[in-house]
């Protein structure tokens, strides 16, 4: 039992804005005051300190084939020693962290949940082995569907029952959480060295288009009633002029609705928000995208904010990764290119004086500032845009125009004419930024007990040495940044895991997975699955992950 006394609570889901209150914890949950015996409680004095829910990262690449290949490809990343073995495990990594480092660094920053955003279903066992090696946080993985031959077949046959059965079966087999779609159709075209360029291009070898893939998967997702919506990485990622494809894709959500959440989440939109016709005349399409997102009530996005410094591009978008490799000349690895999906990995670095990088940096911020705080979550698409450990930088930037002006003076002047960042006066409030990093991502993912401090919520809590009643987030951005980098306390499932910015206890979080098999007739698709397994490198009986193989599985049944 834990009693957090006199903290200044910011809890947007429960509409609490900087109120002094106490929080009580029992059995890993937040409970009413009368449910604890105060004399048995361990007391944390949070006077004058900010108390919020643990951070929720809804889109990062923290486990599975891509980050592991990135680690193999980039030995230079492993020279940064973060922790020497002792009470905690040895960890290394500059941006590409080793598995335990991922858990430790999230915890030190007050984050307690992170989702692996692209899992090739055939590689699910590897993903879960790695997720199991990440301490401190709760986690889950999103299997990819947008380029799977079987998905194309169901759509070609216009057979929604079969598609639903496939989605439910695959999420159960891969112990996944939802439906990720990466460059729908484009990765299949990559198998022949190509890509798709518009929502209406035909996918080679199949009578389907990206438009159909997205809408059919949204429909399947909504009919199954999954906690999370379709999670889309748009076509034409990284291509100047792509903001129009992004807007077209966003509009595909029209005609669908869900009382609890969005029906389409468009991810790392920064990489899909470029105007212009080449990198020589590229500009920002952020304002147009923001206008469309703000006008719709069933779409959310996340930023994909680049951070200056080292990063590694790793996406299921295999053709994009190849173009990036050709563009910048860096190392490249092609991965997972089989009947289900594809992927690539390319080391990159974002330099402030590089006009393209500065443009990307500015566009990420424009999206964060111009889109309603209830519709844009904070991400760096780790490690594509840079380290998640710099979320506090993004938080501070969103809250302070003065900080942005200082940073703008250090980057390539191209951003002044190619984006509207300099003229944006918006300063998000602390309440909004807490929402964008906690309650909003939890709501987008459909995690009812995450991202807030209401009764019944998971006792995942961060306490920062920052008094919101006495801090001017616009002027004191340096302090804001520093405080969010290092939590005074991080509490995971009711246990104190970080104190004074230092790890004090290692715990293992749960792995959420969604079971929607009762919502579909799985047998409807089994003959097709059996037939397709003639072309797989594993037998159907060896495919997938059993729940008992996962360290701490948490099944969410959809009924």
């Amino acid at each position: 039992m834990l009693w957090i006394r006199n903290g200044i609570v910011v809890d947007p889901k429960n509409k609490i804005n900087a109120e002094k209150m106490d929080i009580f914890i029992k059995n890993g949950k937040i409970v009413e005051e009368n449910e604890v015996k105060k004399e048995e409680c361990k007391v944390i004095d949070a006077s004058g300190k900010l108390v919020v829910a643990g951070g929720v990262d809804m889109h990062a690449h923290i486990a599975g084939s891509k980050i592991n290949t990135g680690r193999t490809m980039r030995p230079e990343e492993m020279r940064v020693v973060r922790n020497i073995a002792g009470k905690f495990r040895a960890t290394v990594g500059r941006v590409l962290l080793t598995a335990p480092a991922i858990g430790y660094e999230y915890a030190k920053m007050g984050y307690t949940t992170s989702f692996e955003a692209a899992q090739p279903p055939i590689g699910a066992l590897h993903t879960h082995e790695e997720l199991d090696a990440i301490p401190m946080i709760d986690k889950a993985a999103l299997p990819v569907f947008g380029n799977w031959h079987l998905v194309f077949k169901c759509i070609e046959e216009k057979n929604m029952e079969k598609l639903k059965a496939l989605v439910a079966w695959a999420i159960e087999r891969s112990k996944g959480f939802g439906v990720k779609v990466v460059n729908p159709g484009g990765v299949e075209a990559w198998m022949y060295g190509g890509n798709v360029k518009s929502l209406d291009d035909q996918v080679p070898g199949f009578n389907v288009t990206p438009r159909e893939i997205i809408t059919w998967l949204i429909k399947a997702n909504e009919e199954l009633g999954l906690p999370h919506s379709v999670h889309l990485h748009c076509n034409n990622l990284g291509v100047p002029g792509n903001y129009q494809t992004t807007i077209e894709s966003i509009k595909l959500a029209k005609g669908f609705s869900n009382a609890k959440r969005q029906v389409l989440h468009v991810t790392h939109v920064q990489f899909n928000a470029y105007a212009g016709s080449s990198w020589r005349d590229a500009g920002s399409g952020a304002a147009e995208i923001a206008k469309v997102v703000n006008s719709m009530d069933n779409v959310t996005i996340d930023m994909g904010q680049p951070i200056f410094g080292h990063a590694t591009a790793m996406t299921g978008d295999a053709p994009f990764q190849f173009s990036l490799h050709k563009l910048i000349g860096a190392r490249w690895s092609n991965k997972d290119t089989e009947v289900e999906t594809g992927a690539g990995i390319v080391p990159i670095g974002y330099l402030p004086n590089n006009p393209v990088h500065a443009l990307q940096w500015a566009i990420g911020l424009e999206l964060g500032l111009l889109v309603d705080s209830n519709k844009v979550a904070l991400t760096t698409d780790y490690p594509n845009g840079g380290p998640f450990t710099e979320y506090p930088y993004v938080m501070a930037m969103l809250m302070s125009k003065k900080m942005r002006e200082g940073e703008l003076s250090k980057v390539n002047a191209y951003v002044q004419k190619a984006t509207g960042l300099a003229s944006i006066d918006v300063e998000k409030t602390l309440y909004e930024v807490i929402h964008m990093t906690r309650s909003l991502p939890a709501k987008i993912l459909g995690l009812e007990n995450k991202g807030h401090l209401g009764i019944g919520a998971d006792a995942d809590i961060a306490i920062y040495n920052l008094n919101p009643l006495e801090t001017d987030t616009s002027k004191e951005f340096e302090k804001v940044y520093k405080m969010f980098k290092s939590a005074e306390y991080t509490i995971k499932g009711g246990e104190i895991i970080v104190k004074g910015g230092e790890l004090v206890k290692e715990v293992y979080g749960r792995t959420f997975w969604v079971d929607a098999t009762k919502k579909a007739d799985i047998q409807a698709v089994m003959p097709d699955i059996r037939e397709y397994f003639n072309y797989y490198s594993v037998q159907l009986g060896n495919y997938g992950v059993e729940e008992r193989w996962i360290k701490k599985p948490a099944r969410i049944e959809v009924v």
Partner: protein, 235 residues
Amino acid sequence: MAVVIKPKKFFEVCVEAELTPELALRSVDEVKKFKVYYGNKVVELGELFEVAKQGDEKKLILDGDFSRVKWIGARMVDGEIVVKGSVGANCGAFMRGGKITIEGNADDWLGIEMAGGEIIVKGNAGNLVGCAYYGDAVGMTAGKIVIEGNAGNYVGEKMNGGEIVIKGNAGDFIGTEMRAGVIEIHGSCGFVGGDMRGGEIRIKGSFELLPTFKKTEKGWVGDVNVKGEGVIKTF
């Protein structure tokens, strides 16, 4: 004020010690307190080595078998190191100036990413002489390495300046991805110049030429696979 350092014992596991001539400016007691890694433990140099003073130059004399001591001379900028025996891996890594003389053999990673100064090996050297460290884009950029015996594979990988002279033979993959600088081999070697973009490799003995080099007046030029203009020639 040269400092003489002598191993006290046989090292069960490798020692990692960035010993540079700067140590000669310190007192014997200070040198003994210098922190080194012995396996995964940080220990004081004095626990593993005897330390004495001799003469008055900015010079380290490493007296004995240092073949299990890594990173000797790493990042040194001036002064001199003389090793009376053999040295372990990464000797002279990232060095920018000064001179290292090794009377015995050198292990792998000799003079990696060296940007100045001189290394002389009286015996043999291992693999990866003057190359880029794991994952880095550029190897040796300046300075000179002379090996009087033989060297291993991957000599001068990603080299972008400076000179490597091998009086004996060398292994395979010499000057792979080389951009500038000179490698001179007085004996024979295996495959040479894969993905070479620039620089020169001179070989006295026999060697294996890749089919991606074309014969010109200057010698064999390539690697044409990467539109390279490196030159391989005999002397």
